[in-house]
């Protein structure tokens, strides 16, 4: 059946094209961070709706996402607002249902860097506990909720599209993939590629044989 062959070839070609497009894109990189290598601290924990703000931040130009160090098993809806002089200059929100130790919220990028901004994160909580991670700081510079100082400053990372494409990162990814395993070496990458190609070839041949 010719249609099956056409559908398979077109479908796989589309997958190949999508991989090519993705490889031409650049992954997000950290433009600025206040995360230090020192031990993290739980600076706040809440089971109800809350808004935590942190002053004295710097919003780098072209920031497309803000990453906060939070933990929840079924994360609540989060809204992040960046203000300068009391006026919101960037904002974004993330729907509920995320689960991790960090949450990334996309924001509209600005063409220039803005200093001394305040970042506020609001959570629409129900019952589940949410923990905020950061680093201990004096009351004067700590993050706050309704003018009440928290135990320290929230860890915030500002992300933007990097200058290197995924394609240019392939050698370093391949090198890293060969480390930290039973039999280290770049051969691990080659094996994964061979296996993946074998899987696709076997599946395609079977489709052509059984469905045509």
């Amino acid at each position: 059946m010719r249609e099956v062959r056409i559908a398979l070839v077109a479908g796989l070609a589309l997958v190949g094209l999508a991989i090519g497009v993705e490889l031409a894109h650049s992954p997000m990189t950290v433009a600025r961070t206040n995360v230090t290598s020192s031990e993290e601290d739980r600076i706040a924990r809440t089971v109800h709706g809350a808004t935590y703000c942190q002053a004295g931040e710097l919003l780098p130009r072209e920031t497309t996402a803000i990453r906060l160090s939070l933990f929840a098993f079924t994360g609540p809806r989060i809204r992040v607002v960046v203000s300068s002089g009391g006026r919101p200059i960037a904002s974004g929100q993330r729907a509920s249902g995320w689960t991790s130790r960090v949450v990334t919220v996309a924001v509209r990028p600005l063409p220039q860097t803005v200093s001394d901004v305040t970042v506020c994160a609001s959570f629409a909580m129900h019952d589940e506990a949410l923990t905020v991670f950061g680093q201990p700081a004096p009351r004067a510079s700590a993050a706050y909720e309704d003018h009440r100082a928290l135990r320290g400053r929230m860890w915030i990372e500002y992300l933007r599209t990097g200058s290197r494409t995924w394609a240019s990162l392939i050698p370093s990814i391949a090198s890293a993939m060969g480390l930290g395993r039973a039999a280290p070496g770049t051969w691990n990458v080659l094996l994964v590629l061979v296996l993946l190609v074998t899987v696709v070839v076997l599946a395609s041949r079977l489709v052509l044989k059984e469905l045509s």
Binding site: G11, S96, A106, L179, G180, A183, L206
Partner: protein, 556 residues
């Protein structure tokens, strides 16, 4: 009875077709031979025959032929000869895909893998079951976890696996200097039965002289075999349950084989991998029994596989009521044809199935422990009203009913927890696609659902005839969903939905295969194979992009 007697064996269609083809080929050759009929042709043919006969004699003298014949006889006796080649290829694809995932995913970066590894270690090193559910692993495991930066990387996608030769050298020094200590606390794995872990002691011991990472790599390969079995049984299930369009079986089998979540979980040390295979096997056996009738062999097979399920993972308890109902319905049918003696099959099946549970309870009772061990304790902690629990479990999967308390405000659980969890939540539940991918995935999922619905409407008369069989599958589904929901309800509201992880629903993969087969058939006789091809391509794309996502998250 007449339907059972008249039913064509599922394997007969392709076998018949291939035999016909052979016959056709022979007759064509025969015709040609008579047509050509030259002396040269006859000489060449005779020479070829003589060479073949000589080769056969040499081979049989060497003893290969008897062995091959014996193997063929053995596989025929085991029923393996009747399994279509396509099913074996689906199994191979699933197996290779899981091996691929096992290499791609960094050591221990799959939910609870350190605990499951520790269970195997305890069993292999001491020969005894674990007693401690503490999170503190053995020194050997802890040193490895620190060496590979497990604690920094887990659930923190901003951190990556080790990436420099210095870190690698440090890891190798750690692995070489840490002595092999025996036994370990096993964390959350403590409540699990031991069969999967007992099997994993084989690769653990095979790599006994190596490091923790060597043993883990080999143990992951063993899990990958279960992915193959899962795909094989899913294929056989759709062959039995939906025999009408043989071409569509491949769509179901291949799609299951390429499911990335199956690859992730079967590429890791986790009893889920074996549970998926056991569950798919049970769906197959039940479908076979509904199609051909229950006999003693099938009753024992269902019972034995259920017993294996009970010994594999506690979650199997969710499927058990459905299996029991299936045996009752099938025995009733058999009784209508062959009298009350058919109820012996029910006794046989349930006796074999529940024997490990009863044995476990008896041993506990004799040693003055709770009959079902840690599970009894968990059952005892049930809290809240039954209505509140039912309401919670309903909302964990489906939209809230009017007039009920909203347990998940602002959260559409069906898509945000379950669908999104299927589309992409890898690593230690910390690796996700960008948000738009989940929205885009609704398009093919919606199209598949529509086509599947169309197919069901078209064959509604057949569905009515098979209502009892469908009810059995439905009870298995509801049982599993209720079990996961009840476990989540125990920690609610401290945690909204702790066990809302799509991997817990993968024991129902055989039904996903059936839904995909129905979707392909729903496109009609002409376009069905094309739609089936596109479904497989979607699963290929999903698998490939999921693997790229994981590579980018851990190694970029």
């Amino acid at each position: 009875m007449s339907r059972r007697g008249g039913a064509r064996a599922p394997g007969s269609t392709p076998t018949k077709r291939s035999t016909d083809k052979r016959e056709d080929a022979t007759s064509v050759n025969g015709d040609r031979r008579t047509q050509v009929g030259t002396r040269a042709f006859t000489r060449r043919a005779r020479a070829t025959q003589r060479r073949r006969a000589a080769r056969r004699t040499r081979t049989s003298e060497r003893g290969v032929a008897p062995i091959a014949a014996r193997l063929r006889a053995l596989s025929r006796r085991a029923g393996l000869g009747r399994i279509p080649r396509a099913a074996w290829i689906c199994a191979l694809v699933a197996c290779l895909n899981a091996v691929c995932w096992s290499i791609l995913t960094p050591p221990f970066q799959v939910p609870d893998e350190p605990d499951h590894y520790a269970y195997v270690k305890q069993l292999a090193d001491t020969g005894s079951l674990p007693v401690s559910g503490r999170e503190q692993p053995a020194e050997e495991i802890l040193a490895t976890l620190i060496g590979i930066r497990y604690f920094e990387v887990r659930q923190q996608p901003q951190h990556h696996a080790i990436a420099t030769s210095n870190e690698q050298a440090e890891l190798e020094r750690t692995l070489a200097s840490t002595p092999h200590d025996t036994g370990s606390a096993v964390g959350v794995a403590r409540s699990q039965p031991p069969l999967y872990y007992a099997l994993e002691t084989i690769p653990y011991r095979l790599a006994g002289s190596g490091t923790v990472l060597d043993r883990l790599a080999l143990m992951r390969l063993m899990s990958a075999l279960f992915a193959g079995l899962t795909a094989l049984f899913a294929f056989l299930f759709v062959r039995e349950a939906l025999p009408g369009a043989p071409w569509a079986w491949t769509v179901g089998g291949l799609s299951v084989a390429l499911a990335p979540l199956l690859g992730l979980m079967s590429g890791a040390v986790n009893p889920d991998s074996m549970l998926f295979a056991v569950s798919a096997g049970l769906f197959y056996l039940l479908a076979r029994a509904f199609r051909r009738g229950l006999d003693a062999r099938l009753a024992i097979a269902v019972g034995a596989l259920s017993a294996i399920g009970f010994l594999t993972k506690v979650n199997f308890v969710g499927l058990a009521p459905g299996v029991l109902l299936g045996l009752i319905v099938l025995s009733n049918r058999a009784a209508r044809a062959s009298g009350r003696s058919a109820y012996r099959l029910l006794a046989l099946g349930t006796g074999v199935a529940f024997s490990p549970v009863l044995l476990y309870a008896a041993v506990n009772a004799l040693s003055n422990h709770a009959p079902f061990g840690i599970v009894s304790g968990a059952l005892g902690t049930t809290r809240g009203s039954l209505l509140a629990q039912i309401n919670y479990i309903w909302q964990l999967y489906l939209p809230r009913l009017p007039g009920t308390v909203n347990d998940f405000p602002g959260l559409f659980t069906t898509t945000q927890l379950w669908f999104d969890g299927y589309v992409g939540l890898y690593g230690y539940l910390d690796t996700t696609f960008p948000g738009w991918v989940y929205t885009l995935a609704l398009v093919p999922a919606g199209a598949i659902a529509l086509l599947c619905g169309r197919s069901l409407v078209q064959c509604r008369a057949a569905l009515r005839e098979r209502a009892a069989e469908l009810a059995v599958y439905a009870v298995m589904v509801v049982g599993l969903l209720a079990l996961v929901g009840a476990a989540s309800f125990k920690v609610f509201p401290k945690t909204d939905a702790e066990f809302a992880q799509t991997r817990y629903l993968l024991p129902l993969l055989a039904l996903l295969a059936a839904a995909l087969v129905l979707a392909a058939r729903g496109a009609g006789r002409r376009w069905g194979p094309v739609v089936g091809t596109l479904i497989v391509v979607v699963f290929v794309a999903h698998d490939v992009f999921s693997q790229l996502l994981v590579a980018g998250r851990f190694y970029s």
